[in-house]
């Protein structure tokens, strides 16, 4: 479908406008319009620009990072079911964050612990996967899956030990929650940097689709390329997990949606994956904030509710 890039690019502003327009407080069209133009009452402007806009951009950055990481990992691991969680990085971050919560740490310390857990997992995956002959995608996959299982068990242990007053916060972290995301600037900078770096390698990534030996024979420095792409996917995953916890399906489904729409060149696929992933998560987060307002639901529930049927539909089409 040649219209896919235009549709995705139109979806970006549309999803951000929807994310800013809807929430637990119904502003009405006139107040919303005024607030968007920096006019009208101060409360409406604060809700739009002080609360919803940063949240929408945080959701966009998080979804973009996850989809970008997913697109890279599906190619690098030669596995269509690869998603950011497959590196074990999300599991490491979750174990770190929940461990810190169990110890009663403050929010900043929880983030630091999540970062430490993610770094530990990423370090272990890379240490076990980079041999003398370069990266071994199967070892990356196996190490990542093993670590994810191990961290999953650790998370289960922490949940069973935690007092019931802490469990809900932990579950929100595990199911994805953008409410504590705060200022999205850093995440947007990481998204732009990762997307630019991945885009700069897109021609070589197109060739890598043919396999490592063929890519080498066509002049690609395969080990260096894999290192850059794995590094990019890892940084993107860590940034996304620190921002919104463990949010599933965006990284898995979005790249496939684009490929099935005829987008396969990485020069288009990677930036469009970032845009579509961002839009999908901004919309899912709007649902999470609005459906049971004033209560918020975990955004991961909505990405899964969108992602599961879409994935099943894709699989049915591939049969």
């Amino acid at each position: 479908m040649k219209a896919a890039p235009a549709v995705v690019l139109l979806l970006v502003p549309a999803s951000l406008v929807v994310a800013v327009a809807f929430g637990s407080v119904d502003l009405g069209a006139a107040r919303l319009g005024d607030a968007l133009l920096f006019r009208g009452d101060e409360i409406a402007r604060e809700i739009v620009w002080g609360v919803r806009a940063p949240r929408a951009l945080a959701g966009f950055a998080c979804g973009g990072l996850l989809a970008l990481a997913g697109a890279l990992l599906q190619l690098l691991l030669r596995n269509p079911l690869a998603d950011p969680a497959i590196l074990g990085v999300s599991g490491g971050a979750a174990a770190g964050a929940l461990g810190a919560m169990l110890l009663g740490a403050a929010a900043a310390a929880v983030n630091l612990a999540a970062l430490a857990g993610a770094a530990l997992a990423a370090g272990a995956v890379f240490a076990f996967s980079l041999g003398r002959s370069g990266w071994n995608p199967y070892r990356v996959l196996l190490t990542g899956v093993a670590l994810a299982s191990g961290f999953g068990a650790l998370v289960g242990l922490i949940l069973s030990l935690a007092p019931s007053s802490q469990v809900q916060g932990m579950l929100f972290w595990l199911l994805g929650d953008l409410s504590p995301a705060g200022d999205p600037t850093a995440a947007l900078v990481v998204l732009a940097a990762c997307a630019a770096l991945a885009f700069s390698q897109s021609a070589a990534l197109d060739v890598l689709v043919l396999g490592e030996d063929k890519a080498r024979s066509l002049g690609v420095a395969v080990t260096r390329l894999q290192g850059v792409a794995f590094g990019c996917a890892t940084v993107a995953t860590v940034a996304a997990v620190l921002l919104g916890g463990m949010i599933g399906f965006v990284g898995l489904v979005v790249p496939h949606l684009l490929r099935l729409s005829g987008v396969h060149r990485h020069a288009l696929l990677l930036p469009l994956a970032a845009c579509l992933g961002g839009s999908v998560l901004a919309l899912a987060d709007t649902l999470a904030r609005s459906v049971a307002a004033p209560a918020e639901l975990p955004v991961g529930v909505f990405t899964a509710m969108i992602g599961v049927p879409v994935l099943l539909l894709l699989l049915a089409r591939l049969r």
Binding site: A203, S217, R259
Partner: protein, 249 residues
Amino acid sequence: MLEAAALRLSAGGRELVCDLDLSLAPGQCWALLGRNGAGKTSLIHALAGLREPQSGAVALDGVALRGIARRDLARRVAVLLQDEESDFWGSVLDYVVLGRYPRSRSAWGRDEEGLESARRLLAELDLGERAAQSYRTLSGGERQRARLAQVLLQDTDILLLDEPLQHLDLRHQAQAMRLLAGRASAGRAVLAALHEPGHAARHCGFAVLLYDAGRASLGRSSDMLTQANLEALYQCRLEPAGAQSFLPS
């Protein structure tokens, strides 16, 4: 000129190639023959710089391959691999144009010259009408011709081809061999692993016979492709096929 000197290759405790000296000079077309598992693929990979030999060296115009940047090497040496992991989502034309990667400058801009050459090659290989079709929908033989087109698009001085005729019907076997021999006549060096000595005798002026245990002999095809040599190579008796056997011309 691509030269192997005292090349030794082994795999799984087996000697595949022992002290092989081989020079692929411009204008020469070489056939590489041997039984399954004799080491043809390993030799092609070593000549292409895709695997390190146990000992010996491969050099391009006197410079060891390991001293040449990948991209520079890809502008001089093209390889058709026997197996290719491919989950390619694009069209046949998109697939073939990847052969321009060593010469392309940008990930974004359209390479009109490359696209034109790719369309010409696809037409030469009877795939002109398939150019816009999804690569995933091609048959095995059509994929093989698309892979050949990609290798030829690389436009290199040296062509190394591992079983270029696999999956091809008789018409396209002849077409592929004519294209390869034509490249050699135009001054390129060609080496192709083949399983049909008839093609080797008709289109290749030179032949390498890889025997078991790393022994190899090489020379002009007229001297190498004798009944006695081929019987020793394949370890079976051969008979003149008579009027019931045909080779595409």
